[in-house]
């Protein structure tokens, strides 16, 4: 039943070559996996559901980050503010203007995309560290606006978000219902991203990352594609923010500070830059590992006095994870997975 792919290239059409799932076995397995994911929440506790929802939201954000930084090579520290823009758009549209969820969420993405495009304009002149600085400055300026434009955003007090009601069903009644909003969005985001990199636009992004001067020489319009990269990745960030707003029910600017961008940057670096599976692994890892370790320490603290490292533990673990990954496995978890697959494919030979 396991299909064995013959050695060599036997594809007859572009369609076959570009297919995401190359064999019928893969298609069936992925289908079964999605069905499993849809049934799974019935058996999970609210805490695990909360983790699952957080991971789904994080996956979308990590994909966005990977599009601009991993695939296009433009280091962007503006994610925090862009997610905030998405969250606030949803909050304002749903609570002050009464927009339904299927309108507010895409509009949140769109507003964040516009903001992201503006933050990203320095990318036309700057590179590397300088671009990171410019996007960081953009982040703080947007945050400043969110914090101070009290009439629109409620300033430090924040805004409450109306329930996301779809087909008459409150999607945020509890974690279980939200799961059925977050998971399909995440799956949609993953497939959209995978598809993006089969198209001309995606290839242009990768060309820009590899050598943008050369890309321009072969005819890639840097102006258009760099801004498009920021646009698309910020759209993802906006959707992330919108979902976050619906989930949290009350948002204020404190949740959207610079550490959010650093979180997402960590996700894609730990997971693997320039790889979609990498974004998924990274999101899962960065969300779950501190939680798991915190539970372990809580359990262990019954036997040993470890009280005072509780609160900042998450920070320390986070920092430690990043540093260790970058020292020992800079290409991330996706590379580890590739290495493992290659090892088993070639065993018992070495190469």
């Amino acid at each position: 039943m396991v299909s064995i792919r013959p050695c060599g290239d036997f594809k007859n059409s572009y369609e076959q070559d570009e297919a995401i799932f190359q064999t019928r076995f893969m298609k069936i397995m992925v289908g079964l996996f999605i069905v499993f994911l849809l049934i799974l929440p019935q058996f999970l506790s609210p805490y695990l559901l909360y983790l699952a929802n957080t991971v789904s939201i994080a996956i979308i954000g990590a994909l966005g980050m990977n599009i601009v930084t991993g695939f296009t090579g433009l280091i962007s520290l503006g994610q925090g503010a862009l997610i905030g823009v998405g969250a606030y758009t949803v909050a304002i549209l749903s609570s002050k203007l009464g927009f339904p969820v299927w309108a507010a969420l895409p509009l949140a993405g769109f507003m964040a995309a516009l903001a992201g495009m503006i933050i990203g304009t320095p990318s036309l002149r700057l590179k590397g560290f300088y671009l990171a600085m410019a996007t960081m400055a953009g982040h703080y300026i947007i945050w400043f606006v969110l914090w101070n434009w009290v009439d629109l955003t409620g300033g430090p007090g924040g805004i409450a978000v109306r329930k996301p009601v779809l087909f008459g069903l409150d999607l945020n009644r509890d974690d279980l219902h939200f799961y059925y909003l977050a998971l399909p969005m995440a799956i949609l985001a993953i497939f959209a991203c995978k598809n993006l990199f089969r198209t001309r636009v995606g290839r242009a992004f990768i060309a820009i990352r590899d050598r943008d001067l050369s890309a321009e020489v072969i005819g890639v319009n840097l102006f258009k594609y760099k801004l498009l990269s920021f646009f698309i990745s910020s759209f993802y960030a906006g959707i992330t923010g919108g979902l976050f707003a619906y989930y949290m029910k009350l948002i204020n600017p404190e949740a959207f500070q610079l550490f959010l961008a650093i979180d997402y940057l960590a996700m894609i670096i730990v997971g693997g830059m320039g790889s979609i599976l990498g974004s998924i692994y990274g999101a899962i890892f960065i969300v779950l590992v501190p939680e798991i370790l915190q539970r372990i320490i809580e359990y262990a603290s019954r036997f040993m006095p470890l009280q005072n490292i509780f609160a900042p533990l998450r920070e320390i673990i986070f920092g430690l994870m990043i540093v260790l990954f970058l020292i020992f496995k800079p290409e991330g978890i996706a590379k580890m997975w590739e290495d493992a697959k290659a090892y088993f494919k070639l065993w018992p030979y070495a190469y």
Binding site: I75, Y130, M133, V150, A266, F318, L326
Partner: protein, 295 residues
């Protein structure tokens, strides 16, 4: 007018501390091409170590300073060896990330050892004020200003005239040629991190004498970016001069623009707006060297 002078004087004092922190940053960048996002956290740790030595262990000031410097050297060496050595040759985003991870670790450790409360140094300096340009300036400010100026002078002279300083500049300029002349670049890396950490600790110490210390101190690590970009990432005089410029600008903005915004945070933003403007007009700053990319 009085208001204006007060802002300027305040700006100069704060600017001297900014100049110190920026100097540390530029030092690391010049020697090893690493952008140290953890500089603010090093200042934070320095401030807390100072607190621990002065307040918790009740060690007199000069010994505290000396001990904290020794600890700074040790910390600098450890960081360089364990965290940065493996990062040689990795792309920019990885290096940025590693220093961010380091910043997280340092911040978390500080919080776990000393808690999140605001702490203050025991009063070291008499609370008197003297009159400068017709306005009262407290002794504390004056002392911190003169200390930073003294150290800035020491470091400038070190880099210009001492053997080790010249060796560091050589290694920063061209590693391979420096190595061929017999300069141990590994030692230079370690030394530059040690000195930068000492400078950061000193900055933390001074900030501790002026203000209460809290976790927010690490924001100075973000504020240092407008300063080094304005001055030029690899220029020591640039860092010093723009430290003062940004310090003054920040205070002027806080004084004149802040009243229009009720939420606050104008002071932090002003530096970053300046950063954005500089990046658009003159990305290499006032004294930085232009990077020319060739295919």
């Amino acid at each position: 007018m009085f208001f204006f002078t007060a802002l300027i004087v305040n700006g100069i004092v704060i600017g001297s501390i900014y100049a110190l922190v920026a100097l540390g940053f530029v030092l690391i960048f010049k020697a090893s091409d690493i952008i140290n996002f953890a500089q603010g956290e090093l200042v934070l740790v320095g401030a807390f170590i100072g607190y621990a030595l002065l307040d918790q262990l009740k060690i007199p000031v000069t010994f505290s300073l000396g001990l904290s410097f020794i600890f700074a050297v040790f910390l600098g060496f450890v960081i360089e060896r364990i965290v940065l050595r493996p990062m040689i040759g990795e792309p920019v985003s990885s290096v940025i990330m590693v220093t961010l991870g380091l910043a997280s670790i340092l911040k978390g450790l500080s919080r776990s050892i000393w808690g999140s409360m605001n702490l203050s140094f025991p009063p070291l300096i008499p609370q008197k004020t003297i009159s400068v340009a017709g306005m009262p300036v407290s002794y504390v400010y004056l002392l911190s200003f003169s200390t930073s100026m003294v150290f800035l002078l020491i470091f400038s002279l070190f880099f210009k005239y001492s053997r080790m300083g010249v060796a560091m500049r050589a290694a920063a300029n061209n590693q391979q040629v420096a190595q061929s002349l017999g300069i141990s670049v590994r030692r230079i890396f370690a030394l530059s991190w040690a000195i930068a950490t000492i400078i950061a600790f000193l900055g933390g110490f001074l900030l501790g004498t002026i203000n209460v210390i809290s976790m927010n101190l690490s924001f100075i690590g973000i504020k240092v970016f407008p300063i080094v970009v304005l001055g030029g990432l690899d220029s020591i005089p640039g860092a010093i001069i723009s430290g003062f410029i940004i310090g003054i600008l920040e205070n002027l903005a806080a004084g004149y623009i802040q009243p229009y915004f009720e939420g606050g945070a104008v002071q932090e933003i002003s530096g970053l707006v300046v950063l954005l403007i500089i990046l658009i007009i003159k990305p290499y700053g006032l004294f930085g060297t232009r990077e020319i990319e060739r295919l």
